[in-house]
Subunit: 318 residues, 2 copies
């Protein structure tokens, strides 16, 4: 009794948030996927295949694509990077995509973004065959997502939803705040968070959702965050979310990722959340790095396997 | 000075809300459209054409389609209703749509919803050629809308946005609440309300948007509504929005429309808002009927003319 009272008297401020360990969760999910893909191949199917087109020399893009290839190898997906010079024309890039679209041995196709400014990004996203579009950026896949139809869901937003599900975070009728309105990340998250679980996609979370963004005044952002049971932040603004903006016990998913350099010239990656302070008040919290990132890569593998299965009209997963 | 002080002392509670007169606005917009279509026809183009497929005997559907035909005649659109028995098969209906898709003399096509339960509504919506889809329900048009690309926007949601614009309701950085999450009405409204005005559609309103729905607890709905500068309600629940849920001066757009029968057996149409009470506290308010409804019909005509113009690759309007 005494120790119980002692714990109570400490209050929530001295409790540490549960850390939502994206690295461990990604490993768990990759192992599940590996088992499923092994079984799939044992049934006589060829291994799922993924082709990543990487244009130009952006180091971050090279790192991202490399991470994807490593994850693919781990789970048993045959993945290849197709590297092209930053001087490639839009026409040439479209022709490359067309060739992959037509190749029956290719399941998933992705074009690492951003593409050089001479190339229309939207045109490229819409050029990937919708049924092979593992990034979920094709306009018709966006339409399906927003109509709660089964489709290929952008990996980062799917990662956020899966992290909430796997950690049994209650969302039905809860107050969620999404900070950001990007079309590839924040918008799909806000869509799945608020929609009806009974719809065909099965990804609806039935939360009340507030979408905040660059024009939300600071005091209003604080107002909505303090009232939120779940905060998903995707802004790239370090320390945007401070402890006094968080309701005790809230769940925080940090999708932000920014490279900062300290006074010694050493650089590191940080999220949108003031992690050290917020971890004292939140109920559950993702770190950066090691949070949403690794799960995102795993979701891309999930999507690739989904394409492989639908190609032959069969599914091993629910 | 005295009279000014006198007015102040009354406070906002005794001020009446500005009534957003949808009937008058619709007439104004129809007259603008009529002028534009007249000019278009004088340039040698044939009149824009609209074909409405109406399946079955639902009296409400017949009334809606009739209203559309009347508005079309008014603005100079050649509109026809294609009536089909409720026993039509999905295959036959798809064949009808295909014929209209292929007919170069047809601009806009709509299938009045709901269709009989034997017919897959989503399949029908996706069967209409996207470029003729004046209802904006085709999955690729939904995708474009959600990516802030120019497209055919569902008429009711476009009506709400146009009413806010025409009445100069400030939305940038303001708090908006959308009650409802239907894919044909509430979702597109929430999308346009929160997105970036600088994007290609030009329909973004840059508001902070909270999406409430059936799983939002009553006390939370009240919380968000009281904090809102703009409330858009689309639930079909009469008197859901009461005066004590409204911030003085807020703008309220009532998309609800429900037939209620009084104790004398007389029926009338009402919205979601307790109009008599809320009009004493709101800053601006749409009535039902005579609010969003007439503007919706006008937006359908706007969309039909948009199809006619894009068909020949020309535009008279911005």
């Amino acid at each position: 009794m005494r120790s119980h009272a002692f714990i109570d008297s400490l209050g929530s401020a001295s409790m540490m948030a549960q850390i939502i360990d994206g690295k461990a969760l990604a490993l768990e999910m990759k192992n599940e996927l590996k088992t499923q893909i092994d079984a799939w191949v044992k049934l006589g199917h060829r291994a799922p295949t993924l082709r990543c087109i990487l244009v130009g020399d952006d180091p971050a893009s090279h790192t991202y694509v490399n991470n994807k290839i490593q994850a693919a190898i781990y789970v048993g997906i045959d993945a290849q990077t197709i590297k092209r010079s930053k001087d490639i024309s839009e026409e040439q890039l479209l022709a490359e995509i067309e060739q992959l679209n037509a190749d029956a041995n290719v399941d998933g196709i992705l074009v690492q973004l951003p593409v050089p400014e001479t190339i229309n990004e939207r045109k490229i996203c819409n050029a990937v065959a919708p049924e092979k579009d593992v990034d979920g950026f094709h306009v018709s896949n966006v339409g399906k997502l927003c109509l709660d139809m089964p489709t290929l869901v952008p990996a980062t937003s799917l990662a956020v939803i899966q992290m909430l599900k796997r950690y049994n975070i209650d969302t039905l009728g809860r107050n969620a705040v999404v900070i950001g309105r990007s079309k590839n990340v924040a918008m799909p998250i806000a869509m799945m968070l608020h929609t009806d679980k009974r719809h065909d996609s099965g990804l609806g979370m039935d939360a009340t959702v507030t979408i905040c963004h660059r024009y939300t005044p600071k005091d209003q952002l604080e107002f909505y965050c303090r009232h939120a049971d779940i905060i998903v932040t995707a802004t790239g603004i370090p320390k945007l979310i401070k402890a006094d903006m968080v309701k005790p016990g809230a769940t925080i998913i940090d999708v932000g990722i920014t490279k900062v350099t300290d006074e010694n010239g050493k650089s590191r990656l940080v999220g949108d959340v003031d992690f050290d302070e917020v971890s004292k008040i939140a109920g559950a919290l993702t770190p950066v790095p090691g949070g949403v990132g690794p799960v995102t890569v795993t979701m891309l593998m999930h999507n690739t396997f989904q394409v492989a299965q639908s190609r032959v009209g069969k599914s091993l997963t629910a």
